[in-house]
């Protein structure tokens, strides 16, 4: 574990809700990306009082590294319980980094229909993009060395927190 001081995830989440609030309408749909993005999306969906039901995506079947690392050992079912055709979707992810997860998520969404618009909200933008992806709503930007992995975690009381790991190290 790194000694570097990380921002408080709960505060960032409250800030993220504040910047999103002016833009949400009756036609706004949230879609969380597993796993951290779903936790955030559940909280935002409740906090913003959205009418359309919450969607969840597991992008495992759309990832571009399947050929290198194979199938994720715990794929969750994706669930989009609203009509994607014509909807205004905000994708929710915990950490925006290379942009590859978002590419996969957009591809998967379009297999459900043609949304009117797709925007992105991320709790943390840590830079390091490898694809032309940008978030509309960001909780905080953070510069991190490339050998570090930033992860959102949830404790038994449902409180969210950020943790930093060394890449390829066991125990996470």
């Amino acid at each position: 574990m790194d000694k570097m001081r990380l921002p408080d995830a709960e505060q960032l989440l409250a800030g993220l809700a504040d910047v999103m609030r002016p833009d949400v309408t009756a036609n706004t749909a949230l879609v969380g990306i597993y796993t951290g993005g779903v936790w955030l999306a559940e909280r935002l969906h409740q906090g913003l009082g959205l009418a359309l039901p919450l969607g969840t995506l597991d992008v495992s079947f759309y990832r571009d590294d399947f050929g290198q690392i194979g199938l994720h050992p715990q794929v969750k079912p994706s669930d989009i319980p609203f009509e994607v055709e014509g909807s205004h979707i905000i994708l929710i992810d915990d950490v925006l980094y290379t942009g590859r997860t978002i590419r996969a998520a957009i591809n998967e969404l379009f297999d459900y229909g043609r949304p009117a618009s797709v925007r992105l909200a991320a709790l943390i933008d840590r830079g390091g993009r490898e694809l032309p992806v940008a978030a509309e709503y960001v909780g905080a930007t953070l510069v991190l060395p490339s050998d570090k992995m930033l992860a959102l975690e949830k404790d038994i009381d449902g409180k969210l927190g950020l943790s930093l790991y060394n890449k390829n190290s066991p125990g996470q």
Binding site: S60, F61, I69, G70, L71, V75, P77, D111, Y112, G113
Partner: protein, 315 residues
Amino acid sequence: MNNPQLNKNGELQHLLTTEGLPASILLHILNTAESFVGVTERDIKKVPLLRGKSIFNLFFEPSTRTRTTFEIAAKRLSADVVNLNIAASSQTKGETLLDTVDNLAAMHADMFVVRHSQSGAAHLIARHVRPEIHVINAGDGRHAHPTQGLLDMFTIRHYKSNFHDLRVAIVGDILHSRVARSQIHALTTLGVPEVRVIAPKTLLPAKVERLGVHVYHEMAQGLKDVDVLLMLRLQNERMLSARLPSTEEYFKYYGLTPEKLSLAKRDAIVLHPGPMNRGVEIDSAVADGGQSMILPQVTFGIAVRMAVMSILAGN
């Protein structure tokens, strides 16, 4: 013991039988299949996972349903599928099994789905091919039909939530059934406490109790308090010797009628691997009744085969 289905990291390299696979691998397949059920319910029933992969269905024995479900599964994963009906192909001209496989491997096959009347055919191919090629056994002789066994497990878990407090009865021609063997190994590995087989003595393999099952010869006792009934097809084409007086007599004693089904638990479910012989092992009133999950089995079978193919291709 070296398991030819696993690679050096203990991951699934080929799916040849449910025997000897750890519960963790069986559950990984079932859990992954849950995610594919959602995919098959969308308008666009396709994911790009196996784009560019070539899957060869090698069917040395006739099969419509199994071959079709493998074909649909591969296509929904965006793979390219080639179906070879080898009974009507090179083998009749004298080419050996492994020569056929070598020729297809030279066409850059990534996966073989093999159905053969000889037990061990898929094993033989799996041992022969290069390590980057994966083999799925789609039924070999009397030995194994692992994807059928797994889709039955998926269906049971879907309707019964878990395996740990179930009584499951397998009814019918156990002797000739590769499906029954794959079911028994999967059920016991997944922790089903009581697996029964119900059949006349002539349709049971010798020493079947060694597989960990309880043997019954009469439906009245065998079906008592059962949660799941796995019906088997009476394998007419495999009945080389006269093991039964007649199909009518078989139906009288072992055919699943509403009356016999009422001996099981009220919420018991009925499964059948298909194709059904109505009026032989199952009555139409049961096959088409509310406790029958035979058609959901077919739907889930595609998701389970998608899961197996994508797990193998990623390992």
